[in-house]
Amino acid sequence: MRTATPPRTRPKSRSSPPVRRPRGPATGRVDHNRRLAIGRLIMVTLLVLAGVKLVTVQTVQSGQLRADGDKQRVTRLPLPAERGSILDRSGAPMAFSVQAKALVANPFLIGRDQGANAINRKTQIAIGIAQLTGVDAYQLYAALNTDRHYVILVPLVEPAVARAVTERFPEIAQEDRESRQYPGGPLAANIIGAASWNMDQHKLHGVVGLEASQESLLAGTDGFRVVDTAEGGNTVIPGSERAEKAAVPGSNLQLTLDSDLQYTVQQQLAAYVNLHGAKDGSAVVLDAHTGEVRALATNATFDPRDLAAASANQLGNPAVTTPFEPGSVNKIITMAAALDSGLVNPMTVKDVPDSIKIADRTIHDAWTHPTQRFTLTGILARSSNVGTLMTAQQIGPDRFWTMLNKMGLGRRTGVGLPGESSGRVPPRDTWSGSTFGNLPIGQGLSMTVLQLAGMYQSVANDGLRVPPRIVAATIDPDGTRHTEPRPDPVRVVSPQIAQQLRQMLTAVTQAGKGVQRGTGVDAAVPGYEIAGKTGTAQQVNPACGCYSSNNYWITFAGMFPAQAPRYVVAIMLDAPTHGQNASGLFHQIASTLAQRDQIPVDPNPAPMVPLVVP
């Protein structure tokens, strides 16, 4: 209705103006039209411009602009994955992680904001934090009293304490950390290693040991959250989650170690090494049947809780990384090969002189004696070099070489520890005439204490060698347990021969009189038959490239109870200054094990075996 009326009024007004036309309505109308046209043109131009811009923004630049916008709002917040624990065989934690915070500050900003009051404020903060965390207030103050933009005041504090601090002092910020706990301190530290906080990756990172070598397993996978955050801060805008991927915690690693035994062995080894003035020492205890490493100790150890204080040689694990020449413990190879060949038996008698000439070298026994009639057992129990070499000559290098390979020398055991050494065995085709005068008595080749234990494990396990392992299982974050596959066992000798070897080795600890006395009597434990072998190897003197006459590797390898072995123990002492015998330490370890496992006592002492016959 309203639209209908205006047209009616317009004609009226139009009909009246014609009277005023002569005053130049022509120019007025032109102006009007031109103005209209120009205005229209401007409008259209602006619209076109706006349209072009619109299209540009929406299509050409859209990606870039969106990215820029996202950059301002969207934040990718990492969700840290918790590092897996390392457990001993009973499930007791040896290394695990807990949440922690770091207290950080920006001293420059505090100084600027507080102005003249800065000193007071910083003092307050330092004293306050010192009260809450127990850190030295003076150090805090010194750290705060700089012009730096970022200072870590306390690297690791409990979250509750960190909250208390930040509530009291808004200038102090907290950062997420993960604190690695080693409840046992130096317990098995050389095996487990240590992890420390990596500032770049913002997560714990293994530095040495299993912590480093099993990093991928332990670390887990970090997740993330893509959210919008308020500008200039990390305050998440609720409901703005765009994507979220939960963190996958690291798997747990269960070792075959027995932490109580590990502790005892570590203690006893360190005391023994100290007592005998050795440079170094290693000891390993294997389960006789499964080859699982129950304890693996080295003398030089460190406290992973205080990694800063550890020196380089303490961080290593020489029990698997550092081979040595074994000495007479290697005679077990000759004996095994000899029995295996069927040419001899433990009671075979040989006329053993004081020395023997092999190629261009003359080899003596460790003590002077006239030519004596040794049984094969006696040769081993008295550790006669000459007798051993005579036996080796009898069976020939090929049988010896085969047996040496079966025993796993010159190859890594694959125990699962980082940096394992394979030892060194001269290849068969490089043997010179004198090589076969060296190897049977344990010189001219090297092995780790773990390989040494592995050899004796094959004797203990009825001739079946199971390569040692230290990782029992990995446990997924959801609790699924994956038992590590057991390595394929290697048949070294038949059970009968293994039994004969154990009997021969028992004679080593036989406390006879004079020539009937074995070399490892100190290893004997009353009530148990102990089978073992002593060893002494000359170290190479780097000055002359020859064998030194006063530096030795002292070794002992053995098992008990001899008739049905439960444990295999191998020990190496590096250059002890006094007491050239490691059997005392074997005795300590065996005695501890016997008590702890309540191994049944055999009240009848082992029968005396003739070592030298008239």
């Binding site: 007791a92 695990f96 409840p183 990596n198 380089a312 009353p526």
Partner: protein, 290 residues
């Protein structure tokens, strides 16, 4: 013209479109009402008048219908208003409840966090107290001595008892001090503040000083020359070496002069120590940076 009007007081619906041209109807009550607002008098040839009359009829008819519909519409409006009202109240109530719940949720979250932190700290404490070194230390403190050789009694089938081994008293190992220090859950090492941003030139001394102090505070006199050749980790004081090498007889005796604050702190935060123990955090990387 007028006759049909009388005959049809209430025209049926079907007739309506056919007869709108009759001007008779406007004469009724519509005219006066309409005449106030509309210039009916201008009617020249009656067409306008008729048109207005038609409209009036339409409107009247509509208003008559509206009267009927009024009650229905008002009911509807009422219903809508009630719905709105209920909706408003409900949404208010919901948002209030949600707000209250969010407070409760927040409180519950806090409680969960506190409890999980507490459980973490307790399990840490338990783990460190039941570790083998700590147990050994506790046993030593109780005066227990590790026995090396024991004699055993074997009862023979005939009832007689045989002694295997020679019984002898266990002696405390006096010579070598224990190599593994007991785990010390109550020790708080002073953490040296470490600077991350600035050049290491200024900070390495800090770090060393801190380490030194810490070492002294914790280990007593077993200080050794710093040996930082290989370990990127840090210049170090071999942790437990003192006793081993026979130099230090003091194991845990703290040298008080340097760090009194550290020694007192533990009572305040018992669970704190293991956390802070490895100075591993930023220290190593900072030093290794150069």
């Amino acid at each position: 013209m007028s006759a049909p009007a009388v005959e049809r007081p209430r025209p049926t619906r079907g007739a309506r479109p056919a007869r709108p041209a009759r001007p008779a109807r406007p004469a009724r009550q519509t005219m006066p009402r309409r005449s106030t607002g509309v210039p009916a008098p201008r009617d020249a040839n009656g067409a306008i008048g008729r048109a207005y009359a038609r409209r009036a009829v339409r409107e009247r008819r509509q208003s008559g219908e509206a009267n009927d519909a009024t009650s229905g519409r008002s009911q509807f409006v009422l219903l809508i208003m009630v719905l709105f009202g209920v909706g408003l109240v409900a949404s208010l109530w919901l948002s209030t409840t949600a707000a209250a719940d969010s407070y409760r949720l927040d409180a519950a979250r806090q409680a969960t966090r506190d409890l999980s932190e507490r459980s973490e700290s307790l399990s840490t404490e338990i783990a460190s107290m039941q570790s083998a070194p700590a147990l050994a230390a506790a046993a030593r403190q109780m005066g227990m001595v590790q026995v090396s050789d024991v004699a055993r009694l074997v009862v023979r089938p005939d009832g007689s008892v045989q002694v295997v081994g020679a019984p002898k008293a266990a002696v405390a190992p006096a010579a070598p001090a224990p190599v593994l220090a007991p785990a010390a859950p109550a020790q708080v090492p002073g953490q040296p503040p470490v600077d991350q941003q600035q050049g290491t030139g200024a900070q390495v001394p800090d770090q060393q000083q801190g380490t030194g102090q810490q070492g002294t505070g914790q280990q007593g006199t077993g200080q050794q020359a710093p040996d930082d050749q290989v370990a990127p980790e840090q210049p170090g004081v071999p942790a437990e070496q003192g006793p081993v090498q026979g130099t230090g007889t003091v194991q845990q005796a703290p040298v008080q002069q340097q760090a009194p604050a550290q020694q007192q702190a533990p009572t305040r935060q018992p669970g704190y120590a293991p956390l802070a123990a490895p100075a591993a955090g930023p220290g190593p990387s900072a030093v290794a940076g150069h």
